[in-house]
Symmetry: C2
Subunit: 393 residues, 2 copies
DNA sequence: TTACTTTGTTAAAATAACTAACAAATTCAA
DNA sequence: TTGAATTTGTTAGTTATTTTAACAAAGTAA
């Protein structure tokens, strides 16, 4: 695992100031030492010294001179995004998606692999290893320059111990996955579950770029949410935050042992399919249920209209509950909700305006299937505080 | 307002280390310099110097010697809780409750005042001023030794600007209350709404002492919640977190303009009274509705039983929703919920076990009407990072 | 009484940031 | 064209804070 390891104390200030400079340089690409001094509230000599150090390390580069503003021309500095690289990996069913990115989170190379069935821990590790080798070869990046790897796994992840408690499809159950990958790949590992990774992805490189709190809502076979508060992923006291499938929304028939949550039961893709079947609608389980409902409604089907409205109502209720509790700045909708059309989105916004006093900015996820990978990459950058550093304002 | 004002940078480390020492000393009352050095990872000379400084300032005291552990006897140090004092104040309707406390949050003197009706800003300020003078005189505390005052106000508070947007009962509407109190009392002010203050109170000196995340749920004429995550109060992006009265729980009849939230409408004290009336139950509006329902149920009233069950169900649903979203370590119930008996509490716990995968520790608030005051006091200590400092672990 | 421990202090060294002063490079106006 | 003003970057010396090393003070135990 990557961790800052707050060693002693006095070097800590220097580290903070270095991060402050890098942070500014990441926000605005071309700055002079003098401008950095102003923005970081450090003295010019101090900035010069730290910059010199980081140029030696390859973290920063001088890139020509800028326009004079009545005096000597400034030497412009740039954050060298190619100094190091990070790797992201996402397991999804028997598929593995993997990418190398620069330190801005920009993808350099990407590669897909299919795991052989049935998936077990060893074959997954092997796939990771091989795909990594391929990627590094293809992008011409030296292994020593890789900072770490972020891995997204389905199921609940206990990050503290690096153990995955519940990752059904990859054959990893209660294994110290983190350590295992670390040993096999000889790279620092950041582990998290898939929804958290996607959340981080949309937050740092998608719809939520720039906001400081955000809820990422995913509707698939289940319903889950990722939560970012104060620019930090919030995981809950038992890593179970955002398990919104368990909210009490919709009909709640007598629950059988070990069954899904009520919200999920009613308004996940499977839930909606069930309702459609009960209404006698002819729907294809292979195609987006929402798209089909919208089409059927457009064609005048009364039961489709009813169900579509019910779905909007259900999803909006879920959103209303989260918004009431958290008051996030933005809500990002994903999964099946990506098929919402403008009318549907407006309907949901309309319901929320009726129900809650403050409505967040609601939008669709932008990264689609790339969200997980993007998040995995950014989780490594984040762990190194190479991203979104607070700085010494 | 009190704020740390991160000036330069290098003094920041010293401040951090001082706080680290104080933090340790607050956790374990009698420690030697050598022990502090170990616990804070600072060198002994450094600890000595910082301790010396703080002894001069009166923050720390030497209190005799301890047992030898094979060598020279240690000189024991103690955090001097009486070095300074803090003041807490809570407005509630036309009542003002106020107290002085030491730096451990222990109340030294307390006093009640009734504002003259109708309440306006000026009379409230006057009451604050007079009561403060009384308290200081009674407790013999010098005004210079007061660090600041925490003020709890009903309604939504915009803390950033120190403006209260909505404080119906005190006659303060859209006024920069913070600055006004600051000028009048010549003390740093920490302002917050009443639920947040109560939450902070239960967190730092009540049922939630020691946990790192907690939800405080209050049922009165409305329903609201205070949220603590990572030992910090979470306020939301527009200071509207915990407005759980707007959750979609229970019947949702057509909402009229500007009307309450659904959850609140159904399961606040007023909501339950409405339901009781509709069921033809004879209840006294002056007495706890829950107590009456429990009594009537015990006496065999069928409609009371039905309603009581509905109330448990409704409250548990609200809790389930919050727990699904937040996964807090603990849930503290307050307001009308304080009248829950063991059977009622168990019923709620039972429902939650059925509905959500992880159930937090659920308990009743311990501080009752003192919660707000306690929170006001602790909010000042917190603002000075004299409480719960992270330290240099 | 002597050897060994633990605690606390002193003195010198090490870090890292700041101030002041200045050199370098450029604009602009006389 | 020249010199004053301005902005950028560096050098040198000062200050603040922590660490290391050494030692004195005060015990314990054999």
């Amino acid at each position: 695992m990557i961790g800052r390891g707050r060693t002693g104390n006095t070097k800590f200030v220097k580290q903070m100031n270095r991060e402050g400079i890098l942070h500014q340089l990441r926000q605005e690409p071309r700055l002079s030492r003098a401008e950095l001094a102003v923005k970081t509230n450090l003295s010019r000599p101090c900035v010069s010294a730290l910059v010199e150090e980081m140029i030696q390390e390859g973290l920063i580069r001088e890139v020509g001179t800028g326009e004079s503003r009545g005096g000597r021309k400034p030497i412009l500095l740039e954050y060298n995004v190619q100094a190091y690289a990070v790797v992201g990996a996402v397991f999804e069913g028997s598929e593995l998606e993997m990418a190398v990115a620069d330190m801005k989170g920009e993808m350099i190379a990407q590669r897909h692999a299919r795991l052989k069935q049935p998936v077990d821990g060893d074959s997954a590790l092997k796939a990771l290893e091989e795909t990594l080798a391929h990627l590094l070869a293809a992008s011409g990046i030296d292994r020593d320059r890789v900072i770490g790897i972020g891995v997204g796994l389905p199921g609940i992840t206990q990050r503290r111990s690096g153990t995955v408690s519940h990752a059904p499809s990859t054959g990893w159950m209660d294994l110290p996955v983190g350590r295992e990958i670390e040993e096999r790949l000889r790279l620092p590992v950041v582990l998290d579950n898939d929804v958290n990774m996607m959340t981080q992805g949309e937050f740092s490189g998608g719809a939520g770029a720039g906001v400081s709190s955000l809820v990422y809502m995913y509707v698939g076979t289940g319903i889950g949410a990722g939560i970012i508060l104060d620019k930090q992923l919030y995981r809950g006291s038992r890593e179970a935050s955002g398990e919104i499938g368990y909210m009490r929304i919709g009909d709640s028939p007598a629950r059988r042992k070990g069954e899904f949550g009520v919200f999920e039961k009613n308004f996940s893709v499977t839930g909606i399919h069930g309702k459609a079947k009960a209404l006698g609608l002819a729907v294809d389980p292979e195609v987006s249920i929402l798209q089909q409902l919208i089409r059927l409604s457009g064609e005048g089907s009364a039961p489709a209209k009813v169900l579509l409205n019910e779905v909007y109502h259900g999803w909006a209720s879920g959103i209303a509950n989260m918004v009431s509790v958290l008051d996030p700045e933005m809500l990002v909708l994903s999964g099946e909700m990506l098929h919402l059309d403008e009318a549907g989105l407006d309907r949901i916004r309309e319901l929320l305006l009726e129900w809650v006093p403050v409505v967040p900015d609601i939008r669709l996820a932008e990264l689609r299937e790339r969200a997980g990978l993007m998040g995995a990459v950014h989780s490594v950058l984040e762990a190194h505080s190479f991203a979104g550093t607070p700085g010494v304002s």
